[in-house]
């Protein structure tokens, strides 16, 4: 079957045929380990705050944990804690956590940025929201909130009532000084965004230009920060959290996001999902993926073609069909809120034949439409001139930034959680993971277009399964208690393959019906970090194209 993991010749330290041998890893780390914890997804080693880099270097170089998936920070009554969730690009089921406790009065720990460059932004976010300080970090500043913000919103002693004054004068032109300093140089500073036609939302790129070429670019995010993590920490597991994932990546990827929460919460509380519901989930999630990739293609065409391009409208037209199907299924066009813990909200719409027919019609028309896109877009010579060998992202760099999804697969990284860390019904179906070796803007477009085909394959198989499903066996939800209270101090990091990449959620329970810590690992957040690598030295139009090819949604970057 196509879902077999490509075999690797030699095993890393601590790797066995069954998974990770944590004792071997402990032996590898030696004195760095001061304790061990057991999380739901993996075991974790407690490391002293001044030995973080040593421990992580060992795990990366000796044990092969090359993917720093997420950095979670949280505050306990007696300490702060940073957790590095590590896994391998070759086999994401091999996970390990590195827990770094720091004192409440002086929460300083060593930065992981020299080991995993993705830790740069993750640690800045930890500093911004929780208040852990990282030593040896290149730029320890706030990332989501304004520089003038008082306090750290997710720390325990944060006063929600405290007025936050973000004065106009201080923010009239935060870049005035930069501009003056460069008065005598040859470069020009220009703000691309936060309101610019090509930033796909409210992103601010502080760009230094040398003529038309990009000398330096720095992303300024946080304009769309809506405290999603805090909202989820204030909601009950059972019902109040599920509507919010729809609002992270709001470009019709809703069900994929809901699944991230559903998977984490179900694994945390040992909830089974009926097979029938898994098939429906798989089908609806792939529909969302198609809708999302269509929009990615359309907006990328806008960036490369110009405002009046036909491709954008074509993509929107075809996405509309998917939206209609999803509307029939969920009753909603954007904020689906369709998944429930232990299943889905309701069964397929009646009459079922009509519903299946509409999906079949869509799948039947799809190859022709994709052919049209290939005619109009990928085989257009000017398009190739613009996209081939621009925005190059080498695989090694992509890995160190924790890039996932089509961005990683466009750089030849064979990493897809649907296959490598199977969930839902994916491992029962026949489909392929798409990778392209081009590493450029063009490769990323190709990956998305081909993934649409693969998603169509999955949907077709799901529809066949659903149509044949015996009537008495159609359980859409398992029995889940009305109030869900997972065991205290259960910790879990679980992720799914969202439209943009690895969408992970870390949760810690404290025995109540609400999570004590809810951390979202957004694929866009990590992917956006690669932008400077892709665009330095290239022209402004390439910068814009690279940004478009990353397919970020600011709602998910800022959360």
């Amino acid at each position: 079957m196509s879902l077999e993991d490509p075999s690797r010749p030699e095993l890393d330290i601590g790797e066995t045929a069954e998974g990770v041998d944590y004792d071997a890893l402990e032996a590898l780390l030696g004195d760095h380990v001061v304790g061990r914890e057991r999380h739901r997804n993996a075991e974790a080693f407690v490391v002293r705050p001044d030995e973080v880099q040593d421990a992580l270097f060992l795990l990366r170089d000796e044990a092969g944990f090359d993917h720093c998936s997420c950095v979670t920070a949280q505050e306990y009554e007696d300490r702060y804690e940073s957790i590095y969730h590590l896994r391998k690009y070759d086999d994401p089921t091999q996970e390990v956590g590195v827990v770094v406790p720091t004192a409440t009065d002086d929460p300083v720990s060593e930065s992981a940025e020299p080991v995993y460059r993705t830790a740069d932004w993750h640690e800045r976010e930890a500093y911004d929201l929780v208040g852990v300080d990282y030593d040896d970090h290149p730029q320890m500043e706030r990332i989501l909130l304004p520089e003038t913000w008082q306090g750290h919103p997710l720390s325990l002693d944060y006063d929600q009532e405290q007025p936050q004054v973000v004065t106009f004068s201080e923010h009239a032109n935060p870049l005035n000084e930069d501009q003056r300093a460069e008065a005598d140089s040859d470069t020009m500073f220009v703000n691309i965004g936060p309101h610019h036609p090509a930033t796909h939302g409210v992103l601010h790129l502080k760009t230094t230009l040398d003529g038309e070429q990009v000398a330096d670019v720095e992303s300024d995010i946080g304009y769309l920060h809506r405290c999603e993590e805090q909202i989820c920490q204030n909601g009950t597991y059972r019902h109040q959290i599920m509507p919010y994932p729809d609002r992270w990546d709001y470009i019709s990827a809703g069900i994929l996001n809901e699944w991230a929460y559903a998977r984490a919460a179900e694994d945390m509380a040992d909830i089974d999902v009926p097979e029938y519901a898994q098939v429906i989930r798989t089908m609806s999630a792939e529909l969302c993926r198609i809708a999302s990739h269509m929009l990615a293609l359309g907006t990328f065409a806008l960036d490369v073609y110009g405002d009046f391009t036909a491709i954008f409208m074509y993509a929107t037209r075809d996405r509309e069909v998917v939206q209609n199907i999803l509307e029939d299924l969920t009753g909603q066009r954007l904020m689906f809120n369709y998944l429930r813990l232990g299943g889905v909200a309701w069964d397929l719409p009646e009459p079922r034949e009509e519903f299946f027919e509409s999906i079949h019609d869509f799948l039947e028309d799809l190859p022709e439409k994709l052919e049209e896109y290939h005619d109009l877009v990928t085989s257009n010579e000017i398009f190739q001139m613009r996209c081939v060998d621009t925005g190059v992202l080498e695989p090694e760099i992509a890995k160190s930034y924790g890039a996932t999804g089509p961005v990683a697969r466009g750089s030849g990284i064979d990493y897809d959680l649907r296959r490598d860390d199977p969930y839902g019904y994916y491992d029962e179906l026949d489909w392929d993971v798409i990778t392209e070796e081009g590493c450029d803007n063009y490769a990323r477009v190709l990956v998305r277009l081909q993934e649409v085909e693969e998603s169509a394959k999955i949907i077709e198989q799901c529809v066949d399964l659903l149509a044949e499903w015996p009537e008495e066996d159609r359980t859409i939800q398992s029995n889940v208690p009305r109030t869900l209270k997972p065991d205290p101090d259960t910790e879990i990091y679980r992720s799914v393959e969202g439209a943009k990449g690895e969408l992970g959620i870390y949760m810690r329970s404290d025995g109540t019906e609400k999570p004590a810590r809810f951390k979202i690992r957004s694929p866009c957040f990590s992917n956006l970090q690669t932008l400077p690598e892709m665009s330095q030295g290239e022209y402004i139009p390439d910068l814009i194209a690279s940004l478009g090819s990353l397919d970020i949604v600011l709602g998910e970057v800022d959360r």
Partner: protein
């Protein structure tokens, strides 16, 4: 050849001498100007909406009046009633003059275009050179707008516009020169006249048929000249916001927009005159429509072409654009010129 429009008008009023010249020219200019403005300012934006919509699988305006025609009125009211925002530190009066330079430079060009049925304001012997000369005044307007706006995106747009105009004006003129070799005159009426001869298959010897290669070159260079895809880098809405017109609003924006449309139509008029036989039908001895209508149809055909390109073709990058201009178009246009000269020299 029939006399020009001012002569016709002055003889209609029974005026002669200096008074007749002045009155005839003024009335004629007003007539032609209104005609072009009606096409560009009134029909243009509406037609653009409809055409783009057809290309992009939409319906476009259809609620305001029949076929949404009254949207023209609504648009006019909307645009004219908007606040004119003058950004801080703009370089006046350059900033105020730029829209006028852009719009008027294109209007000037129409003075020598023979539109059929005796509608031509003047017919100087250097007509073709005159058209290119006044059309390039627009570059000055673009620099003024780009530099005076005190905006970095405008500056980039202005620089791009000038670089682009330089790179494509030369191939444009050189290609037109190859036509001049055929026609043996720069006079617009002469060029039209030369295209009425029979070519064979019942067709007239339009230069588009005689030298399709030159026609193609001219068409492409013209796209760059009017700044439409694949050469719309000076505006490049997704890259540099709106280029040189970023800081313009209200009436000034209307003038900018109008200037752009006028340039597209002027480009169409030049192509119609130089390559498509001006105000005549393509068939020998068959004049189905009055000359003026033929002319209008041809202009709109070129307009349609620019909109088609805009909907379907990606924008090239600025360095690629300059490269295509200097390394490709220029060489090809010179090759075309030399080849034409040799052929004409051998045959004649």
């Amino acid at each position: 050849m029939a006399s020009t429009l001012p002569d016709t008008i002055s003889s209609l009023f029974g005026l002669g001498g200096l008074v007749g010249d002045v009155v005839g020219s003024l009335v004629g200019a007003v007539l032609v100007g209104s005609l072009m403005l009606t096409m560009t300012a009134l029909a243009g934006p509406w037609a653009k909406r409809k055409i783009t919509a057809a290309f992009t699988d939409r319906i476009a305006v259809n609620r305001v009046g029949p076929f949404g025609l009254l949207i023209i009125v609504a648009d006019a009211v909307r645009l004219l009633s908007k606040e004119l925002i003058v950004p801080e530190d703009v370089d006046r009066p350059a900033w105020d003059l730029a829209p006028f330079v852009l719009a008027s430079s294109a209007l000037l060009g129409f003075a020598v275009i023979p539109m059929g049925n005796g509608i031509q304001l003047a017919d100087p012997e250097v007509g073709l050179a005159y058209v290119f000369a006044v059309a390039s005044i627009a570059s000055v307007g673009l620099v003024m707008a780009g530099y005076a706006s005190n905006n970095k995106f405008s500056l980039l747009g202005g620089l791009r516009a000038v670089a682009q105009n330089l790179a494509y004006e030369i191939p444009l003129v050189i290609t037109a020169a190859s036509v001049v070799i055929f026609a043996g005159t720069l006079q617009m009426s002469g060029i039209v006249e030369a295209q009425t001869a029979a070519l064979g298959f019942g067709l007239k010897s339009w230069y588009a048929f005689v030298n399709p290669f030159a026609f193609l070159l001219f068409l492409v260079a013209n796209l760059a000249e009017v700044g439409r895809n694949p050469f719309d880098t000076p505006e490049a809405p997704t890259e540099i916001v709106a280029g040189y017109q970023t800081e313009y609003s209200s009436v000034y924006f209307v003038l900018m927009y109008l200037g752009e449309f006028l340039h597209i139509f002027l480009g169409g008029a030049i192509i119609a005159t130089v390559f498509l036989g001006g105000p005549t039908s393509p068939f020998v001895g068959v004049e189905i429509l009055p000359g003026f209508l033929w002319f209008v149809v041809k202009i709109w055909a070129v307009f349609l072409f620019t909109q088609w390109m805009r909907s379907a073709i990606p924008r090239v990058r600025i360095d690629q654009l300059i490269e295509i201009g200097w390394k490709g178009m220029l060489v090809l246009s010179f090759a075309n010129l030399v080849l034409t000269a040799v052929i004409v020299g051998v045959i004649a």
